[in-house]
């Protein structure tokens, strides 16, 4: 995109992905997959969104899960490029599978 457009139009949809808001983070959520029941609540409530829902068969199988049948479900993954560390996922996780630790800089 040109430096200046007529009328301050932004013609590139969603190019805010250039802003890596992960640098804002003070606390960092970490998913413990062996506890994660893949309920997607964290994905649902992420305001960025910085939690990805991964529906790839290989990833679903290879990611640990507390019970084998859960491996049929999509996996969540935190995109630390954008995660601001609000902790909503940590607070809302019904099985305490997300740890919230001080970010190491």
């Amino acid at each position: 995109m040109e430096v200046i457009t007529r009328g301050a139009v932004i013609p590139e949809p969603g190019n805010s992905v250039e802003n890596k808001t992960g640098t804002w983070r003070v606390f960092k959520p970490i998913i413990h997959y062996e506890k994660c029941i893949r309920c997607l609540i964290c994905w649902q409530f992420c305001p960025e969104p910085a939690i990805l829902k991964i529906d790839d068969e290989k990833v679903k199988k290879e990611t640990p899960a507390p019970k084998e049948p859960l491996k049929r479900l999509p996996v969540v993954e935190i995109d630390y490029d954008y995660c601001k560390g609000c902790g909503i996922c940590y607070n809302e996780c019904p099985v305490n599978a997300i740890e919230f630790v001080k970010e190491e800089k």
Partner: protein, 398 residues
Amino acid sequence: MKVMIRGNESIAYAFKLARVQVVPAYPITPSTLVPEKISEFIANGEMKAEFVPVESEHSALSAAIGASAKGVRVGTATASQGLALMHEILFIASGMRLPIVMGIGNRALSAPINIWCDHQDMMSQRDAGWMQFYAESNQEGLDLGVMAFKIAEDERVLLPAMVGIDAFVLTHTVEPVELPEQKEVDDFLGEFVPHYVTLDPEKPATLGSFGFPEHYMEFKYGQWIAMERAKKVIDEVFSKFEEKFGRKYAKVTPEFTEDADILLVTMGSMTSTTREFVKRMRENGKKVGLVKLTVFRPFPKEELKEILKNAKVVAVLERNISFGFGGAVYAEISSALSSLKEKPKIVDFIIGLGGRDITFKSLEAALRIAERAMKEEVDEINWIDVNKEAVLKAEGLL
């Protein structure tokens, strides 16, 4: 085809002939007849457009921006307080570079509330980034209305435009108007193609973004460039119009100016009265000429300089007042002529505010001062036809 129509109908016909697709409008005296007429055209099936009867002028222009941003041709109309209420949004329409055309029934601003003619409403929006055209007659209202779309939508311009028609003197007065054929106007304007980014789900763009200091000034410079380029585009469109329809337009039109000592500068309907007055003065052997200003934004500096440079006195007749300075047109003409080595004396006449008639007597009073200015110093700013004594008493000065 010759029709007998009021000035407001000229604007409505211009919209109809331009095949305007969305008209958001709010009633206000004296421009109410524009939306009424549009509503009638649509009801009769003569015009295919969406009329949006908004709840305020602020919303009228907001909806106009929404529709224009969606990529359709948009027209609206207002006057006076309505235009003032739009003030905030005017800058946004031009900043977003949307070619909206708006008819203005030029009317005084409150207080006291007054529904009659002057140019205070449009003059007060001088810096809003809109092109400004002032019509002398209903014919001009229609022609300028049609041309405004062509100029505004030009890829080199992309700025909104206002066409002013004087309250009552034009808005409500029936005059014979040559109504162009639809086909001719279609040929002249061509099919509407937005030369700007629109709201399109196929290409999702963000319109109306937030500008930081590192970019803001560039956007303003863009508007400046567009307004400068509009000068040439206006000339081109005026001459194309003349070719096609045979009616001649210019940003500034000189009449009886060659040997004139005194030039009377006018805008809008007062031009007709002044023309007759100048003819009478010429019969009396007075070297008086007329300069009609049709385009106020972009300001035709160069043309005015050329036309006014040889006069002894330039008498600016204007229906507006910038309190604490004088007339806005006077200010701009003074600035336009400032680079001349030998420049005429420029005298300002505040005249015909709030619908006060501009008569031969008013013009004679102004001319007397202009004639005196050839020999001696006169006041820079002169109020014509005012009961000064009564005012001075009210202000405790007498």
